[in-house]
């Protein structure tokens, strides 16, 4: 049996498939990470992970989840169908961010000032900061870019596609709700708090 020639033939395709599935490193995310590290020497940002997934890798992922018959697989397929590109970065962060000094990263500011992006949410308090900006074309939100500097992680995500449709699919699924700008206290939380107060009294 001629196994070796078959392997030699299949190997490049296997490597290509692995790359497509895994995605590629994202230059944009890496550059933003370096920019933030330069602007905030009081924190140390580690190597972490940055990935970029384009149409081909997302299409492959959609093909894989399409084989799933459960609800989450169906939802994943619908969501992936609306996404053109995803760039993600997660980096460990050590130290305390100086939130009095932190401002929107220059790269995000350029997108806002030059390319028509709009700030949706900005926050900076208690050692954490974050920015969410978006871009619209007509009535469609086509891009969403989130950067969050938490206590121990820097997370960045840029999604391109029909962002509104993505959110609609997730919401219609019924398992998830749109987050409010303040965490709602549930009846259970209130009961636990009340019990704790009674104990300390």
């Amino acid at each position: 049996m001629r196994t070796l020639p078959l392997l030699r033939f299949a190997l490049p395709f296997g490597v290509l498939a692995a790359l497509l599935i895994a995605g590629c490193a994202s230059l944009e995310v890496d550059r933003l990470r370096y920019e933030i590290a330069r602007e905030h020497p009081e924190v140390k940002i580690g190597e972490g992970l940055s990935m970029s997934f384009g149409r081909v890798s997302l299409g492959f992922a959609r093909w894989i989840v399409g084989a799933s018959e459960d609800d989450e697989g169906v939802l994943a397929g619908l969501v992936l169908g609306e996404v053109r590109r995803v760039r993600v970065g997660v980096f460990p962060l050590e130290g305390t961010l100086d939130t009095d000094r932190v401002t929107m990263p220059r790269r995000l500011r350029r997108l806002v000032e030059r390319d028509g992006w709009v700030p949706l949410v900005t926050f900076r308090e208690e050692g954490e900061a974050g920015w969410v900006i978006y871009r619209e074309q007509g009535d469609t939100i086509t891009d969403l870019f989130t950067v969050v500097m938490g206590e121990d992680q820097l997370v960045m995500a840029r999604v391109s596609g029909d962002v509104g449709a993505i959110v609609q699919h997730v919401l219609q699924d019924g398992e998830h709700g749109l987050p409010s700008f303040r965490a709602r206290v549930t009846t259970d939380d209130a009961a636990v708090e009340e019990a704790a107060v009674e104990l300390t009294d």
Binding site: T99, V121, I141
Partner: protein
């Protein structure tokens, strides 16, 4: 000579401090009262407002209908340590000019800790066509400004406050209900 002097006075009046002029509430003007960027900034308009409406429709259809009719929800929260001199006077000036511009006062309060709270509505028949909240909170070291543009159902004001984390709106509705207004 007299005509020139009168023109000069008129020009001086136009160039006087912003608080002295009657003006519609302006978030860009608010930013100038502070040396730093806001701690919290929210800008909800257009497609995003419609998204919020769709997200709320199943559980809160009345709230969703109201959000659909809004043109924008804007929030700015600043650290008081970044405030330029005379902030409280400037904010009172904004409040006075809004009253002169036909805005109705829902709340105008001086808190025990020295903070000021102003909530203004723009009436249009039985409905409200705009809402502004200005709150200075020395205890928390924060100054909060909220502007809601568009048609607002008065019954939904408190829900707007709780959904978007604006305590002053919730408190204002509570006070109005207690006063029977």
């Amino acid at each position: 000579m007299t005509r020139i002097a009168l023109l000069a006075l008129a020009l001086a009046g136009l160039l006087a401090a912003p608080g002295a002029r009657a003006q519609t509430f302006d978030l860009a003007g608010i930013q100038q009262l502070f040396s730093g960027e806001p701690k919290v900034e929210v800008n909800l308009r257009g497609s995003l407002l419609r998204l919020v409406a769709e997200a709320s429709r199943r559980e809160e259809p009345e709230f969703a209908s109201m959000v659909e009719n809004l043109q924008g929800i804007f929030v700015r929260q600043f650290a008081l340590q970044d405030a330029r001199a005379g902030l409280a006077d400037r904010v009172r000036g904004f409040a006075r000019s809004m009253e002169g511009d036909g805005w109705e006062t829902l709340v105008r309060a001086r808190e025990d800790d020295g903070g000021d709270v102003y909530v203004y509505l723009r009436p249009q028949g039985d409905l409200i066509n705009g809402l502004v909240v200005m709150a200075l909170d020395p205890a928390e070291g924060e100054a909060t400004f909220v502007q809601i543009v568009g048609r607002i159902d008065p019954a939904q004001i408190g829900r707007l406050g709780s959904r978007f984390g604006v305590d002053e709106l919730e408190d204002a509705v509570g006070e109005r209900d207690r006063d029977g207004g």
